[in-house]
Symmetry: C2
Subunit: 408 residues, 2 copies
């Protein structure tokens, strides 16, 4: 008989302390059979390029033979790194492929950066709300996760500055990392203007920390002006930028990257040891360099823009006046603040009954705040489903409002 408690006491202290805590992907359990799910940032089904990936695989094998499946892979693996660098240069980042580390997705990229910089007892600053997958991951490091408000212009950098001043004065830990999603933030959809970005970089220099820039949605802008990424305006080498093909090719290729100073990327590569999925990377390398990616991204943008527009219209039409929401210029998400006194988590069963599920705000906060808030994703569903779902959300909210009034 296996005694399941035989070795768990040997876990490291941070692991023991976070045992049984929330896990990456836990949020996927939120669903209801007859409800439209606005819970997840999944690409819409038709966008997933099954046939093109088969074609890319065939082309890779044709060109490289067995080399594509061997340790190290063939030339398409290198071409992929070069392609990532070239696309970054097009977006104003001065870099070469030696500043690119390909990773098993963006979350793994974040994890690798955390491994390089975080020791138990360190601090990391994050947006609150922020990507729930990053929050569950930070838990593994035994660090203080300090959250800072997000307004319609993204992270409140003044609040960060005040906290840093306070910490320095009180001799409390200055963060090693500040994790931000400056463009089309998950979950709020907000974008930090360039002035805030510059101010944040000044703080990073003044207080000596690393900016971990998550640019997962940066290529999916539907309107408004491009804002330079943090990495593009980083003159000191303090920004490590994380990107992914999850939103522009498919989540299932699980391929992301880190862009950073060459020496730092070299050390990150050492930490991220264990070889490369050359099968997927070659296929993605082919897909990125034969024109397929370039030809599909405009389509994706148009399809997501339609969905976003429809969701914003539907919210306008269905939600009571006391509710408010963000109006993202890109990405996958709208962040809703419900009327005072309404708890998004408690409202979820009623909403599911009405025909919609969402992710309650507390998933996105390090301290379980956000009870009035919820995240809607417009990425996965059709416009008809968006209409139905938002009508259902409106009904659920009004019904919760009525219950609130009855309680008063």
């Amino acid at each position: 008989m296996t005694d399941e408690t035989t070795i768990e006491h040997l876990f490291t202290e941070p692991i023991r302390e976070s045992m049984g805590g929330p896990s990456y992907g836990d949020w996927r359990s939120i669903s209801a059979p007859d409800a439209v799910s606005l819970s997840y940032g999944f690409p819409y089904p038709d966008s997933l390029p099954n046939d093109q990936l088969i074609e890319a695989a065939e082309a890779v094998f044709e060109a490289e033979g067995d080399q594509a499946l061997q340790y190290g892979g063939g030339e398409y693996v290198d071409r992929l790194a070069a392609d990532v660098a070239a696309r970054a240069r097009e977006r104003g980042i001065d870099c070469t492929e030696s500043e690119v580390l390909l990773t098993n997705g963006a979350t793994k990229a974040i994890d690798t950066i955390c491994r390089a910089f975080l020791s138990p007892g360190d601090a990391i600053f994050v947006e609150a709300p922020t990507f729930m997958g990053a929050l569950t991951l930070f838990e593994n490091f035994g660090v203080e996760v300090a959250g800072f408000p997000v307004d319609s212009d993204g992270l409140d950098v003044d609040a960060v500055a005040a906290a840093l001043r306070g910490r320095r004065r009180e001799g409390r830990p200055i963060p090693k990392l500040l994790y931000t999603i400056p463009t089309f933030q998950n979950p709020t959809g907000t974008t930090m203007p360039v002035e805030r970005r510059r101010r944040l970089l000044e703080l990073a220099a003044e207080y000596d920390f690393v900016v971990l820039e998550d640019d997962a949605y940066g290529q999916l802008r539907y309107d408004g002006e491009d804002v330079p990424t943090m990495k593009a305006i980083d003159e000191e080498g303090r920004v490590l930028q994380v990107g992914t093909f999850a939103k522009t090719i498919a989540p299932g290729v699980r391929t992301g990257w880190i862009l950073g100073p060459e020496a730092v990327v070299g050390e990150l590569a050492r930490i991220d040891a264990g070889g490369t999925n050359t099968f997927t990377r070659s296929v993605v390398g082919r897909y990125c360099t034969d024109g397929t990616l370039d030809s599909t991204v405009p389509e994706l943008r148009a399809a997501y823009e339609r969905r976003r527009d429809r969701m914003l219209e539907a919210l306008e039409a269905s939600m009571p006046p006391e509710a408010s929401w963000t109006e993202p210029e890109g990405g996958f998400f709208v962040w809703v603040e419900l009327p005072p006194g309404i708890d998004a988590d408690r409202m979820l069963p009623e909403a599911a009954e009405e025909g919609v599920t969402y992710l309650p705000g507390e998933f996105f906060f390090p301290d379980d705040a956000g009870e009035r808030c919820l995240r809607l994703s417009f990425s996965h569903v059709s416009v008809a489903e968006i209409d139905r779902a938002i009508e259902a959300l409106g009904r659920a909210t009004r019904s919760a409002l009525a219950a609130r009034s009855a309680d008063d």
Copy 2:
């Protein structure tokens, strides 16, 4: 201008201390244009199943549509975990799929286990020599890596017992992990008899550590009797077994697994956060469950057996009597001990000149021992190349011997 030293001082202490050290894959730089490479444990080119992977991908997309590329994937991802568990049961391991964690390869599996158990200052016991990729990885954890001799029956468990007694007496750290490749060890090709395995498990229980069993080669036996894996005879839940499809499908699918007690695997999954390459895992899942894997493994065994036989014959024919080598019953490697006074690393340029490259022994020791030893891999080359390569090795060794005599 990017100053590459801006943020490296913020790295964790173990990372700072190991900076610039050897990196996973460094050994791949050992090659020479006209020499036969016996350096790497690469599968032979014809074994790599390009066409079958395309077919598997087509079948997965046919069955699952876009689900295969979505977050979480479709049913073939789950089927793969179930298949790994079923194959483990066939090999005498009592387990279900909830005791399987799929990983991005075996090295990543080892890394995840290290993350769960190792803190800076801890100790890990390893075979010396052992897999060089594991050694470079252990460096990242700031731990003491203590090596123990390997004889023709694998790890010298008595030496481990003596060290544990000494450590307990002296109050020095008892290891959290013992890393072993008990079957067809890399690099020696040796296999631990079941008695040693049982004794090692007794020690693990007595001294309270985890046995990290690397079974990368376990399915590639060419003759002799099967020996139960450590995991198969583990009654206490102290063994975490790592496996991989790198040798039976292809390195490039970069898919491995951890088998362990369900509660431990659950925590390891939390550490290994970041989602799954559902593209590759589905394709591998299909490949494993549609009969392709079962139909190819006997072929692989026969092909590797031919290569091993030829290498052993060639060594017998070409090497001077003062040299000795192991006679593996499976796996990819033969471990050669050169005559006294000959340094395998110093002999390498001459050997390359003669027409062969290998990996010098020091790659495989935590303390750069093994200067008389070298690893030969028979997995990647043809039997004709093996003949040529071993003849070249014989010439290089005799020439080094002659130089040694001249020095005397």
